[in-house]
Amino acid sequence: MSDKMHIKLNVNGKNEEFLAEPRELLIYTLRERLNITGPHIGCETSHCGACTVTINGKSVKSCTMFVAQADGAEVTTIEGIGGPDDLHPLQEAFKEHHGLQCGYCTPGMITRAKKLLEENPMPTEEEIRFGMAGNICRCTGYQNIVKSIQAAATEMASAKEAAE
């Protein structure tokens, strides 16, 4: 066993400090150490995207990052995007448009979709499919996920317009 490292993370706006082996994968840090269980473990092999979080402004599969690499980083998970009392427009839209069935992939889907809409606020269907290609869903066939993201984009654009 290698020496433990002193790790500092900011997760969903909260500072966390702990000792961990550098080989600990970030998804385990989040789920088992910090009890942030929104990001899921699907494949654990960088394919499925269920563990997607945002790290320093990038969508990252947290099964493919050592906690040591994330030392000093800002991490946002689905919990930092919205909750039962303050659903994000993406969460509202996934609910409204049946963007999920079993729901296992949904935290990763919404976390990735949020970043996609930050980079491209009104994506075409093709751009959504390309931008969401790192997230796999085995239930929906993706059609309603695309619809949900389109609906959220429209909602967010009109909210922005109303605010201006």
């Binding site: 066993m1 290698s2 020496d3 490292m5 082996e21 550098p22 080989r23 994968l25 654990e44 092999t45 960088s46 394919h47 995207g49 997607t52 990038k58 969508s59 990252v60 599969k61 099964c63 493919t64 990052m65 050592f66 040591a68 690499q69 030392d71 990735r112 996609l116 390309f130 931008g131 969401m132 290609a133 790192g134």
Partner: protein
């Protein structure tokens, strides 16, 4: 999946990186985005007792576009390649290829340096670097040296880079003419069943320059000088394309795996090279 334990280093400069490499030899590995190395470590196919994370080493993330060449730092990510408008104007084939690598999450982390230095025949950038006649920059305890991309790859995961050297960047001559990078893959995120990179220059109706390289069809990326010869001086008609494909097939040496038997790979290689040449020529 839990990788074997390792000591983690995040040095602040290249001197410190090199001293760790010299101290630990092939027990130490540098890591850029980690999206090849970490999966290998999780599968325990790579054993890295000393892991050196390059994220804090300065001067590895620049893209410098000059009149006749382009220099890209090793830590430039695929996402940064895709988003750099100046680079895309000077060498659009880089963006076209990078968009076909893996998926968005992987492209935020994966770097050009890791992609070319890893020596994985499935990676796309090594083939592209053959096509573009890139030069790789290495630094080691004895100083810096340059290696032509076409001389860099020896076998799968075996390159000209020594254990105590770090690849710091690549330089390509500004590409000329039409371009295309075509990749056949089973699904998004997969490595190529076959991929081809072509740059081609048209003068009147005649091809005056071409470059042809193939990905994942041998244990190294393949630059096909004979395919180039079959194209240059022609009007890139059907006969010339057939000759280029025949020449390319002599240069590749695919092996059977879960992407298909050898006959299928040769077939796909031919289809993909034809598409690549035709599209590059239409843009020339």
């Amino acid at each position: 999946m839990i990788p074997a334990a390792f000591d983690y280093y995040r040095p602040k400069d290249m001197e410190a990186v090199l001293s760790i490499l010299v101290e630990h030899g092939d027990d130490a590995r540098v890591m850029a985005g980690g999206h090849s190395l970490i999966p290998m470590m999780k599968l325990r196919m790579a054993d890295v007792p000393h892991l050196i994370d390059l994220q804090d080493v300065p001067d590895l993330s620049d893209i410098v576009v000059s009149a006749d060449s382009i220099k890209i730092g090793a830590m430039v990510t695929q996402a940064e390649l895709i988003d750099n408008a100046e680079l895309t104007k000077a060498a659009p084939i880089l963006r076209e290829a990078a968009l076909q690598i893996a998926d968005p999450q992987v492209r935020y982390m994966g770097t050009i340096g890791g992609n070319v230095a890893n020596g994985d025949p499935g990676n796309d950038m090594p083939g592209l670097m053959q096509c573009l006649d890139a030069t790789f920059h290495l630094v080691g305890p004895d100083g810096t040296r340059d290696v032509a991309a076409r001389d860099f790859y020896e076998a799968a995961y075996m390159t000209d880079r020594e254990d105590d050297e770090v690849l710091t960047g690549v330089t390509i001559p500004t590409p000329q003419g039409g371009y295309a990078y075509e990749k056949q893959k089973r699904k998004i995120g997969d490595y190529a069943t076959a991929a081809a990179a072509v740059q081609i220059v048209k003068d009147g109706d005649t091809c005056t320059f071409a470059s042809v390289a193939m990905t994942n069809l041998s244990d190294t990326p393949i630059y096909s000088a004979d395919a180039v010869e079959a194209l240059v001086g022609t009007t890139v008609d059907d006969a010339a394309i057939k000759a280029a494909i025949a020449a390319m097939l002599e240069d590749i040496d695919p092996s059977e795996d879960n992407r298909g038997p050898i006959a299928f790979k040769n077939h796909v290689a031919g289809v993909i090279l034809r598409r690549t040449i035709e599209r590059a020529w239409s843009r020339a």
